[in-house]
């Protein structure tokens, strides 16, 4: 395969550097960045070849157990890119940025979110957790601050006082979540990737992303579960 032997150019390196410093990059931004890098480093630019461009980088990242990975935002359905560490056995990327106690709060928050019906944890529930941390108790004020930082750093996103996992977190930690929450974490019945915010069938328990539900039930007068055929009782998003 030609692509695998392709050399990295400065354009590829520059693209990778920016992706890493951004944390998460939305697809249209990534397209612009692709163009900018090729122009800056005078490399041949084909506007529809972003995926090939990324594949070349990925072939060089593979021996390092890293990858540029694409994920779909559960909020707006847009594609985003992030640089992921595949060898992670725990939340190692965050480990260097936060203290022990902050990491514990994050892990417990993630528990709440993944175990929840709708993929959200209320700020009240999270703040109650702060009291029960093993490492050291955290005051509510402090926990509020830490949550704010998690949102700024794009590990969590907040809506109406409720918190869910940011797209960045989902892309970067999908493997970790699927292996550590094996019995609880849901995979969408339609697209088979991790679903945090989902609608769940009341009869057979399968889950689907909100965007996948919308697509699947489009135009159907009577929405029915794709697996067990029971009437789908939720409102189509």
């Amino acid at each position: 395969n030609n692509l695998m032997a392709a050399q990295m150019t400065n354009a590829h390196r520059r693209f990778l550097q920016v992706l890493m410093s951004n944390g998460i990059t939305e697809r249209s931004e990534a397209r612009k960045l692709h163009q900018h890098c090729c122009e800056t480093d005078k490399v041949y630019y084909a506007h529809d070849k972003l995926d090939d461009f990324i594949s070349i980088i990925n072939s060089h990242l593979q021996p390092l157990f890293m990858q540029i990975r694409k994920g779909i935002s559960e909020d707006d359905g847009r594609a985003h890119y992030a640089v992921v560490n595949l060898a992670e056995t725990e939340v190692t990327k965050m480990a260097s940025d936060y203290t022990e106690i902050e990491l514990e709060l994050f892990r417990k928050t993630m528990d709440l979110i993944i175990l929840s019906e709708n993929g959200f944890a209320s700020s009240t529930d999270i703040l109650n957790l702060a009291d029960q941390l093993k490492t050291k108790k955290m005051k509510k004020k402090e926990a509020e601050q830490v949550l704010k930082v998690f949102v700024e750093d794009k590990w969590l996103s907040e809506k109406n006082g409720e918190y869910t996992l940011h797209t960045r977190c989902i892309i970067e930690m999908e493997q970790y979540i699927l292996s550590n929450y094996q019995d609880v974490a849901r995979k969408c019945n339609i697209c088979h990737s991790l679903a945090i915010q989902s609608q769940v069938c009341e009869s057979c328990g399968i889950g689907m992303h909100l965007r996948c539900v919308r697509k699947y039930f489009r135009g159907q007068a009577e929405p029915r579960c794709p697996k067990c055929n029971e009437f789908w009782s939720y409102d189509t998003p």
Partner: protein
């Protein structure tokens, strides 16, 4: 081991923390100490080839390293997000000022007046004496005592952050009492920025 070291260095570099050899040995290389030099060499090669970064020793006595960016400087908003662009802009301005004042400026708000050879003339003729950094930054409405809308605590940014990241170096001026300090380019600035970029 090599890929672990690469990860380790990338993480430290994200925060621009200089890396001590002792940390590399303890956290990553561990029992493979004999192969240290080889592992580091290979990690450096991968950093250059894949990421366009280079491992550089900035303190040969205490064995401290930083990762510098090998890629040629580019214009454009893509490289810095949000505040970073302005912070880098401020840094560049400070670096140019230091360069043009003969590579060293005083950490103070007032330029010393050169002893007047011609006491009849009251204006000072530059650039004999190092100018004062904060006097210059006043022209840009950046004040060490005041919280800046973009940079926040500017004094902290310049004297602590920029120094910690090795962009600036601060040394005491000999024979001053109380001790006064001067700013010069730090090793990261030396390696990453050409004097040409700055003009």
């Amino acid at each position: 081991q090599v890929s672990e070291l690469v990860q380790f260095l990338l993480v430290k570099d994200q925060k621009k923390i200089p890396i001590k050899r002792a940390d590399m040995l303890k956290n990553v290389i561990r029992e493979y100490r004999n192969a240290y030099a080889e592992i580091v060499r290979r990690a450096d090669r991968i950093l250059q080839e894949v990421f366009g970064l280079q491992l550089v020793e900035i303190d040969t006595k205490r064995h401290i390293y930083i990762l510098i960016n090998n890629l040629p400087h580019a214009e454009g908003q893509h490289l810095c997000r949000g505040k970073e662009k302005e912070v880098m802009g401020l840094l560049l301005v400070i670096l140019s000022f230091i360069f043009m004042k003969g590579n060293s400026v005083k950490d103070s708000e007032f330029s010393p007046k050169p002893p007047s050879l011609y006491p009849h003339f009251s204006f000072s003729l530059t650039p004999h004496f190092p100018g004062a950094l904060w006097e210059f930054l006043h022209l840009l409405r950046v004040y060490p005592g005041k919280q800046h809308s973009v940079f926040g605590d500017v004094r902290k940014l310049v004297t602590e952050e920029f120094v910690r990241q090795k962009y600036l170096e601060t040394t005491p001026i000999p024979l001053t009492d109380p001790p006064e300090f001067k700013f010069q380019w730090g090793p990261r600035a030396e390696k990453e920025t050409s004097k040409k970029d700055v003009l």
